[in-house]
């Protein structure tokens, strides 16, 4: 009886061209939903909270050390994991016979297209993938004229910022800004406050913390961004910090904010 | 042959000589008290005798063997030592504590033999604490505890027994009981040396005495002579008619 049920399930699944998929990254989850394959997801990381439907999917722990056993128990056909974070997990899953797609870290906006295409290919949704990439590309604001605005991105309190090896830096460039730490060939690092002052950014993107706190930091009032009042706190933190489809909307929003006065 | 022979022993802490050219010997049946003011080096002397501290010059021979040439294993078969106060953080039973006296006479890995058990049982009987064998050492009174460590020393089956202040912190009954025990042990052929604080206690059975003097000059002789109040007055720096010397 059990086998029969399993068999039926198998056929119905095959008929609907559906697979059982687990995503260990919030950005992958968002991409999978954008590709229209959200219903295939049987497991997502604890941090996957968008779109709202993702909240109803079974959780598999954090993405750095996911619960391998939980993933296995969901009997997935395919697990999407980031190769920078989940190498050990992928090894364990493979040994248990679970197929894992390890995707490279996104270091530019173009890398996000690559991730979308990779995921789409594995889900047999190449067409949807191309469509999504095209749509996202089209949604980018036109390349800005003139000199880009010098931007300091504070991803987290304590001066955590993005270097040139990050999609955030590229996202700022697409919005007509120039990351003041763009020359740092690093991903994410803690910048010294003195260095930030020295760079004298014309705009600041705060993903956490308030404008008031920022302005009251030592010597902050001499900074160009503070004088002109361009302290941006209105970006959606999750949307902007995940290399997924929602980033493009934020880029557009950012572009508008950076060039409002011009 | 003497059980213990110290000759020309010298030792100083920094500039201050504790012992200069100290010589004495103990034979089976001798029960010697070591008397002197605080800081005169009484406890140090016992450790010099067991080789725990090495003398600057001079020699200590235990049963004819030179202490400085022996390792701890051999020394523990020649001389047993009871420390003045030994706290044990773990709840060893009295029996386990006494059996550890057999360490030098048995391997480090195997269990205790029947012979070890007999020696421990004998030591417990001799000290009168056989009934306490299963108790934790940390639940005993100070007097019972002192007896347990004497039993441990007896289990070593040495001919020389050294004790550092065995009667301090004890009530009068236990002071008397311990001195009577040590006298009995001397009577059955052991040489016993004990650091003591009160002359009154020392008179309970000591046959020999070693008393401190200025500049590390110690005096060794019959207890009856050295324990006379007029002799002790000089040792402690109190008047000869002080009731403390009685």
């Amino acid at each position: 009886m059990k086998y029969l049920a399993a068999l039926c399930l198998l056929f119905s699944a095959a008929a609907a061209n559906a697979a059982r998929v687990v995503s260990l990254m919030p950005s992958y989850t968002e991409i999978i939903f954008a590709l229209g394959a959200g219903k295939d997801l049987v497991g997502v990381s604890n941090f996957c909270d968008y779109p709202p439907e993702a909240a109803k999917i079974q959780k598999t722990g954090d993405y750095l050390r996911p619960n391998v056993e939980k993933i296995y128990s969901l009997k997935p056909d395919l697990v999407f994991a980031g190769d920078w974070a989940s190498g050990t997990t992928a090894g364990q899953l493979s040994r248990l016979g679970v197929k894992v797609a390890l995707l490279p870290e996104e270091k530019s906006v173009a890398d996000i297209y690559r991730t979308i295409r990779l995921i789409a290919a594995r889900l047999d949704r190449r067409e949807e993938g191309e469509k999504l990439v095209k749509k996202l590309k089209a949604s980018l604001p036109p390349p800005p004229e003139g000199k880009p605005v010098r931007v300091y991105i504070e991803a987290d309190s304590g001066g955590w910022t993005a270097g040139g090896d990050s999609f955030l830096s590229d996202a700022v460039a697409k919005a007509g800004g120039a990351n003041v730490f763009g020359k740092e060939k690093r991903g994410y690092f803690q910048a010294d406050w003195e260095d930030v002052l020295l760079m004298d950014p014309q705009a600041v993107i705060l993903l956490s913390g308030t404008k008031k706190d920022f302005v009251s930091r030592p010597m902050a009032k001499d900074m160009a961004a503070v004088r002109s009042g361009l302290i941006i706190t209105g970006l959606d933190r999750d949307a902007f910090s995940r290399p997924g489809p929602r980033l493009f909307g934020e880029i557009k929003k950012l572009s508008g904010l950076l060039h409002a006065e011009k | 042959m003497p059980v213990l022979r110290a000759s020309g022993l010298s030792f100083s802490y920094g500039e201050r000589p504790l012992f200069s050219e100290l010589s004495f010997e103990l034979r089976p049946g001798d029960f010697m008290c070591v008397l002197g003011p605080n800081g005169s080096g009484k406890s140090t002397l016992l450790k010099l005798l067991t080789g725990y501290i090495r003398a600057a010059s001079g020699s200590v021979r235990l049963g004819g063997e030179e202490v400085s040439a022996l390792g701890p294993g051999r020394l523990a078969r020649l001389a047993a030592y009871v420390a003045s106060e030994s706290s044990v953080p773990y709840d060893f039973s009295v029996m386990e504590t006494v059996l550890l006296g057999r360490t030098a006479r048995t391997g480090l890995w195997r269990g205790y033999s029947e012979g070890d058990g007999r020696a421990a049982a004998l030591a417990l009987r001799e000290t009168g604490i056989a009934a306490l064998a299963a108790r934790s050492i940390n639940t005993l009174s100070s007097g019972e505890r002192q007896l347990a460590f004497i039993a441990q020393a007896l289990a070593q089956e040495t001919r020389l027994l050294l004790l550092d202040e065995p009667t301090s912190h004890l009530d009068l009954r236990f002071k008397a009981e311990i001195m009577a025990l040590l006298s009995r042990l001397a009577a059955r052929g052991l040489a016993v040396a004990a650091v003591l604080h009160e002359p009154g206690v020392a008179r309970l059975g000591c046959t020999r005495a070693l008393t401190a003097g200025a500049g590390g000059k110690w005096t060794f002789g019959p207890a009856a002579e050295l324990l006379r109040p007029e002799r002790l007055a000089g040792v402690y720096g109190v008047p000869p008619d002080s009731p403390l010397l009685a």
Binding site: K70 | G71, W109
Partner: protein, 311 residues
Amino acid sequence: MRKNRFWFIPAALAAAFLFSLAAGPAGFSPEIIWGLRLPRTLAALVVGAGLGLAGALFQGVLKNPLADPYIMGTSAGATAAAVLCFLAGVPRTSPLFFLAVFTGAFGATFLAYWLARLTGRLSDAALVLAGVAVSAFLTALVMLSLSVARERALSLFYFVLGGLYAPRSGVLAASALLAALSGAAALARWRALDAMALGEESAYHLGIDPRRERLFFFVLGCASTSAAVALGGTIGFVGLMTPHIVRLLSGPSSRTLVPASALGGAALLCAADAAGRTLFSPSEVPAGVVMALAGAPFFMWLLWKSSRGRA
């Protein structure tokens, strides 16, 4: 009067072992038990045994009920050496890695011991303070490595945090061997360890060379700590708690204390790891965190007890 409840220890070990094999969201499929839970359970057993053993040896040889590889800086030394090995690219299965980890453990332990001795009398608290100082310095070194070595920071970070997430079979086997050899060597001199537990002066007069035995048991304690750290990173309090619990069950004699602490440590960490996996599933609480939650109050209780007992 003391009852001997030694049997309780293997019973607890068996229970923890079965609990660890059974606990998990994927049910009882053989491949999960063999492929996932068994390696992890074995790792917990080996790490716990190594730490429990090291605790028993240090507490005995130093006559100090507060001694433990975590508190004395032994674990921090081993961790710092392991991190340096990662940075230098030494593979975790190589003998060189184990040698380096042992050297780090031993160096840190002797440094803490030497510092504590500087205070004159080697009191229980002085050793704890010296261990804190040594640990703090070595942990700072590890943190420095973490901030400098960005590329591998994540895996290093998880190693330092301590846990049994995905043990490698080569490291598991080497650590198990090292811990077993240390335990066997310690058991072969159990009486010397008992004598040392009465204090160095007493040990000498019972026929033991205290300096030689101190070195011997330091080497064994550091070796079994190294086995644990190489496999599971820094996990505290197993070495502190286990011998105290074991003494209550089967007495303080090293002849039972040494094997029982190894078994008890294995049971304790295995249970802690299984609990960490199940309590907040699907999220995992690292075993080191579970142990610290249980162990830190235990440590305070010990401090309180020892300050009252010997004031």
